[in-house]
């Protein structure tokens, strides 16, 4: 199968002499058609530099990358690529949404009825029909981001690069945008490469994750596997009526994490001790004092925070 995106041994050096440093250090990865990949890393990891190399905005010092077999930065490669930048608009503020989309379609060599059909198709999919005749500067941020995504997809790219697409959006707008992108992915079976500091975006939209740090790939695999051993941990939070009741402990099986006046927290490794058994034991210990139980997994935020902390 031809990969959608193939990055081979990319190195990007900034500066010269003593001040030279590698923002991207021998990075290689491949994306296949239909995949949805999160590109993660702490600030300064080299994500933006990598994205810019893949778009053809920057050229690598060493190595190369291809989009559907075409060298990045070439005319053909750019035709296959759709871009969404959360922090930078590609729309023309003084024009209407339809005019922007029409012009952007023209930039990507779409013409005539093909253009209009495509615009209306995407407008239907992303629910922006009512916005087409409005001027971009009058739109809310959530509306504008939907239009930005449509603008990035108007030329039917094989791969969509989305850099922080939900930044600044409220929770409803975020959920709506995620849902629409997911719908688009299913309908057009295209590839998505997403960078986002909002991990809920990542958890909803992506099944694979590439983690980079200091320009080096640290992880490339399923998102669920990123948690590693932490995936089997469960956190149990118990609210008690009587704050004086002591915490429960079962050696190596149930660990008490911390305690506030009326809240006790525990950690259980489900590979060693079944959660149902743990709940049963805790229930017996607290009896009538047990007011509420909350069970949660280790979040992706925590996993990444731990990885980022380890680097420093």
């Amino acid at each position: 199968m031809i990969s959608s995106l193939n990055a081979k041994n990319i190195i990007k050096t900034f500066g010269s002499g003593d001040k030279a440093f590698n923002a991207v250090n021998d990075l290689s990865f491949e994306l296949f058609p239909g995949e949805s990949v999160a590109f993660l890393g702490p600030n300064g990891a080299g994500k933006s530099t990598t994205i810019k190399i893949l778009c053809g905005i920057l050229s690598p010092t060493y190595g190369n990358a291809e989009i559907n077999g075409f060298k990045v930065g070439s005319l053909e490669a750019n035709k296959q690529l759709g871009l969404v930048f959360g922090t930078r608009s590609q729309l023309f503020m003084h024009m209407t949404v339809f005019q922007c989309l029409d012009l952007i379609a023209e930039i990507y060599f779409l013409t005539g009825t093909e253009k209009k059909v495509r615009i209306f198709e995407l407008a239907e999919l992303f629910e922006i029909n009512s916005l087409l005749e409005k001027r971009v500067r009058t739109l809310s941020l959530g509306q504008r981001m939907r239009c930005e995504v449509v603008a990035a997809l108007v030329h039917k790219p094989k791969i969509l690069l989305a850099d922080e697409p939900t930044i600044g959006l409220d929770i409803i707008a975020k959920n709506s945008l995620r849902e629409l992108i997911q719908r688009w992915r299913i309908e057009e079976k295209s590839t998505l490469l997403l960078t986002s500091h909002d991990l809920s975006d990542v958890e909803v939209l992506c099944d694979r994750c590439i983690l980079i740090d200091h320009g080096i790939k640290k992880y490339d695999g399923k998102l669920s596997a990123l948690k590693g051993n932490l995936a089997e941990l469960r956190r149990i939070q118990i609210t008690v009526a009587d704050g004086s009741i002591p915490t429960f402990s079962k050696e190596n099986l149930i660990h008490s994490l911390d305690k506030e006046e009326f809240i006790h927290r525990y950690e259980v490794k489900t590979s060693k001790f079944a959660i149902s058994e743990a709940l049963s034991q805790l229930s017996k210990h607290y009896g009538d004092n047990l007011q509420d139980i909350k069970i949660s997994e280790v979040s992706l935020e925590e996993v990444l925070a731990q990885r980022y902390q380890d680097r420093s």
Binding site: I57, R88, L103
Partner: protein, 261 residues
């Protein structure tokens, strides 16, 4: 053809946006027309009125003014984004334009259309009409012809100065300064002022191709001057494209991004 179609479409939509706010459109155009008429009258009254060769100087000045305002105004109206090239480089707005299958300069150009520039074009056209009554027809014809040459040279100037931020940190301020200097050297009747050393220095600046040489060709009608003016404008434009491409390569291969970061 595809590029022309893109520019045409962009112009159509820019005009639609201008039209949607008529108060702004009228204020912008009127403001520029008033500005240009005042300047025209002021310079004429100060420098040419009442002078022995006043009539000839008036014709010279009207031609110069028509040429410069139409050339400058046309670039600013039809592909006004090139004026902001330096700003786009400094602020990173150029970056997404590098990721499309189009020439980034075309995308820069179509990104903006400057409303008051219509006032420049209108005023320049009025000057041409006035010239029809004051000057010989062949001179008016040459004025129209060399407006194109001056326009190409001004486009080159915008691209050349706009490329400065590729090479100089925070170079946009310097770019604007050089643009203003050249506009003044083109706009004032410098072709009539400087002799010898001053004239030689003038020919080392872009004002030679934007104003001085075209005006000389308009005034004397010699084929050799016309040829030098046109070839000079085209060479200058070609040079500016070369510098832009060099700067872009530098931007893509290294340090600018790190300097900004």
């Amino acid at each position: 053809m595809k590029t022309l179609r893109l520019i045409q479409l962009a112009l159509k939509y820019h005009w639609d946006a201008h039209k949607s706010n008529p108060a702004n459109l009228i204020a912008g155009v009127l403001g520029m027309v008033v500005n240009n008429i005042i300047v025209l009258w002021g310079l004429w009254a100060m420098l040419f009125d009442g002078k022995p060769d006043g009539q000839a100087l008036t014709i010279y000045f009207l031609s110069l003014n028509a040429m410069i305002t139409i050339a400058w105004g046309s670039i600013c109206y039809f592909i006004g984004g090139v004026r902001s090239l330096g700003e786009y480089i400094e602020e990173g707005t150029l970056e997404p334009m590098l990721a499309t299958p189009r020439n980034p300069l075309v995308l820069v150009g179509i990104s903006q259309s400057i409303t008051p520039a219509l006032g420049d074009i209108l005023q320049g056209l009025c000057n041409l009409v006035a010239l029809f009554f004051l000057a010989p027809a062949d001179m008016v014809f040459r004025c129209i012809l060399f407006t194109f040459s001056s326009g190409v040279a001004f486009l080159g100037l915008f691209i050349l100065t706009g490329s400065i931020p590729f090479f100089v940190r925070r170079g946009n301020a310097l770019a604007q300064l050089l643009l203003e200097c050249n506009l003044s050297l083109s706009f004032y009747p410098t072709g009539k002022i400087f002799t010898d050393k001053g004239r030689f220095l003038l020919f080392l600046t872009p004002a030679a191709v934007t104003g001085v040489l075209p005006m000389q060709a308009i005034e004397n009608g010699h084929w050799s001057t016309a040829f030098i003016a046109v070839v000079g404008a085209m060479c200058f434009f070609g040079f500016s494209i070369l510098i832009f491409n060099l700067g872009l390569k530098k931007y893509q291969t290294s340090s600018y991004v790190s300097a900004r970061a």
